[in-house]
């Protein structure tokens, strides 16, 4: 996701000593970090989806539901 092409995410910074609050657009460094985070999230979700697909394929091969698998495993 390219955040610089969208309305920019807002970043709030609060100074705990003075109470001063600043709300501003995310700067270039913060936008770059958000893009890295988004890639990591996408990778994690893809990994989870792959595992779920593998799990479902095994259940299909066995011809049982996930509830029945839980009973089998004593979960």
């Amino acid at each position: 996701m390219e955040y610089h092409k969208m309305s920019k995410p807002q970043v709030k910074i609060v100074n705990a000593e003075t109470g001063e609050e600043v709300t501003r657009d995310a700067n270039a460094e913060e936008l770059a970090q958000m893009e890295i985070d988004a890639i990591n999230v996408a990778n994690r979700k893809a990994e989870a989806a792959t595992k779920e697909a593998q799990r479902q394929a095994i259940l299909d091969r066995l011809g049982i539901t996930s509830e029945e698998a839980k009973i089998l495993l004593g979960a």
Binding site: V11, I13, E17, T23, D37
Partner: protein
């Protein structure tokens, strides 16, 4: 009832104890200003919690900076967190986005208990919150960082409750932060950069 500590007696302080444990004692000291000539001794200074910051969660990311290093421990509590879309809420310390956070997690997802121990991450995963401000779907968490100013690797403990798209999730995380710097800022952010906080308040306490 027994009387303790002759040395303190010489300082005009009497200790009256139930049994022998020091923790079961009370002290009385001489005070000529009272009618009886006695008063309860001033208790030793104890610990306490000082609220350092109360901050509303808005936008994508909120950083509480310039956190005082005058306390022993740092305690953070956040409540009523909801987001513009289903997303996770994470935390970074000292704006450190390196792979310096390691933790394991126990999650009770409705009635299913699972464990999770990812490789080092670039943040502390905190909770999954939903795009709803319904009272039983908001996210809440606490994060404790003992001895947060010491020149040592930091441990952290986190408990959280949130309701994801399909289930209620209670999380317990224990981990460490690979930094020897004193912690002076905490950033709470929605995982996807396009997500914004719809509600939420973060309280930062210094614990003496």
């Amino acid at each position: 009832l027994s009387r303790h500590n002759p040395k303190q007696d010489r300082q005009n302080r009497q200790q009256l104890c139930l049994g022998l444990a020091q923790s079961h004692c009370v002290s009385i000291v001489a005070d000529s200003a009272t009618a009886t000539g006695l008063k309860w001794d001033t208790p030793a200074a104890g610990g306490g919690m000082t609220l350092l910051s109360t901050t509303s969660l808005t936008g994508n990311s909120v950083t509480i900076s310039s956190i005082s290093g005058s306390y022993k421990h740092l305690y953070i509590y956040a409540r009523d967190i909801s987001l513009s879309t289903n997303d996770n809420v994470n935390v970074r310390l000292n704006s450190d986005s390196g792979s310096n956070y390691s933790f394991s997690r126990i999650r009770l997802s409705d009635t299913t208990l699972t464990g999770y121990s990812p490789a080092t991450l670039t943040y502390i995963e905190i909770l999954e919150a939903i795009a709803s401000a319904a009272w039983n779907e908001e996210g809440f968490f606490e994060l404790t960082i003992p001895r947060y100013t010491e020149n040592e690797i930091k441990a952290f403990w986190n408990n959280a409750i949130g309701k994801g798209p399909t289930s209620k999730k209670s999380d317990w995380r224990h981990g460490s932060f690979n930094s020897t710097s004193a912690i002076s800022s905490v950033t709470v952010f929605a995982e996807a950069g396009g997500t914004t906080f719809s509600s939420g308040t973060v309280y930062v306490y210094g614990v003496s």
